[in-house]
Amino acid sequence: MNTKILTKREHEVFSLLIMNKTTKDIAKKLGISEKTVRNHISNVIQKLGVNGRAVAVVELLKLKEIEL
């Protein structure tokens, strides 16, 4: 059973988000559009059932999906 919550791309996006990178920075770093970055973020927010990026980051830290 796959227990991963984040896809590889979502993981990359949130690993940069936790480093306080902006959507623009993340898009540039990953070579994707800002809209795609926002889509990844909102997908994760929806998956976790939370209401914002910061809460999503807290949940992902608690779930050990991302590390500081």
Binding site: T3, K4, L17, I18, N20, R53, A54, V57, V58, L61, K62, L63, K64, E65, E67, L68
Partner: protein, 313 residues
């Protein structure tokens, strides 16, 4: 009549002298023996016991740091000794008010050590843990074992399979558990700016005995971590019910320097309590630094004058 009294006095005196003589002379005779133990001589105790720091569960469900005695034999035996202390009802030697956290009847099947990582294989009873303690369980095992010299991390297995997630909440676990896992974790994040984590040492009083309690805090603060440590500890912040810091509120870190794995912290006079730098204060600051930085010694200065140095144990 007088003669009898005089005779009696003479006998009592003679008998008393005899007793004093025996007390004085006999030990001297014993002392003249080559093998007698003189208090001034160094006494070599033949013992294999050593002290180790482990993390036991306190009444408020925090893991508290405490010292226990362990046989100084092989690393394998030390690990097994620690696991015994951590297993509920397995050890009778743990301090009052504290308890083990590994479920009763859990067995440590095997221990393998490779490249400073200990792979601990437990029986399935390890999974019989309540939802509110399952993360503490992993933290207690991890922090207690990595305190041993030559162990940098651990991997937990159950009946031969790596424990990839917490038993109840199914939160993921990293393959190698170390200090990065955190302990007694607190999340205080409300936005994405400057997310950092620091481990702070507080004091908890349990049954009139003081224990140190590490708390890993995730917070929004983009300052250097040493400033966060001093700020949080000097706020005298009582975290939830019992945890306190004895660092005075007006304490200021004037400056700091890191060189050759030594951190020098220069404080103002407010760090003193009744003209003394409390051991609890230096300990909580130094341990917080050791957990956060790759530092071996902390030098405490007050207005530029060296007061005390604390080395990593």
């Amino acid at each position: 009549m007088l003669k009898r009294k005089a005779l009696r006095k003479i006998m009592i005196t003679t008998f008393s002298f005899l007793i004093v003589f025996v007390i004085c002379i006999i030990p001297e005779k014993i002392n003249s023996h080559d093998n007698y133990l003189n208090a001034g001589m160094d006494i070599e105790y033949v013992s294999n016991l050593g002290t180790n720091e482990i993390y036991l569960l306190g009444p408020n469900h925090y893991l508290v740091k405490t010292n226990v005695l362990l046989e100084e034999s092989t690393l394998d035996a030390k690990i097994r000794g620690i696991i015994d202390y951590l297993t509920i009802q397995k050890s009778t030697k743990i301090p009052n008010g504290l308890s083990g956290i590994i479920p009763t009847n859990t067995k440590l099947n095997t221990v393998e050590i490779k490249d400073k990582v200990a792979v601990l294989d437990f029986s399935k009873e390890l999974l019989d843990i309540s939802i509110d303690l399952e993360e503490r369980l992993i933290e207690a095992i991890t922090y207690s074992i990595i305190n041993l010299d030559d162990i940098a991390g651990i991997t937990i297995q159950v009946e031969g399979n790596r424990l990839e997630e917490l038993p109840k909440t199914k939160k993921k676990l990293p393959e190698i558990l170390d200090r990065n896992f955190g302990i007694n974790k607190v999340f205080d994040i409300d936005h994405l700016d400057g997310i950092q984590k620091v481990t702070l040492y507080y004091i908890d009083e349990i049954n009139n005995h003081r224990y140190y309690v590490p708390v890993t805090k995730y917070l929004n603060d983009d300052r250097e971590k040493i400033n966060i440590i001093i700020d949080h500890l000097s706020s005298n912040y009582i975290y939830e019910s019992n945890l306190v810091s004895l660092l005075n509120q007006n304490t200021e870190l004037i400056n700091y320097e890191i060189e050759d794995e030594i951190m020098t912290l220069n404080f103002n006079h407010s760090i003193f309590t009744n003209d003394k730098l409390l051991e609890e204060v230096t300990y909580t600051i130094a341990e917080s630094v050791f957990d956060t930085y790759d530092i071996k010694s902390v030098i405490f200065q007050v207005e530029g004058e060296n007061i005390v140095t604390t080395n990593k144990s």
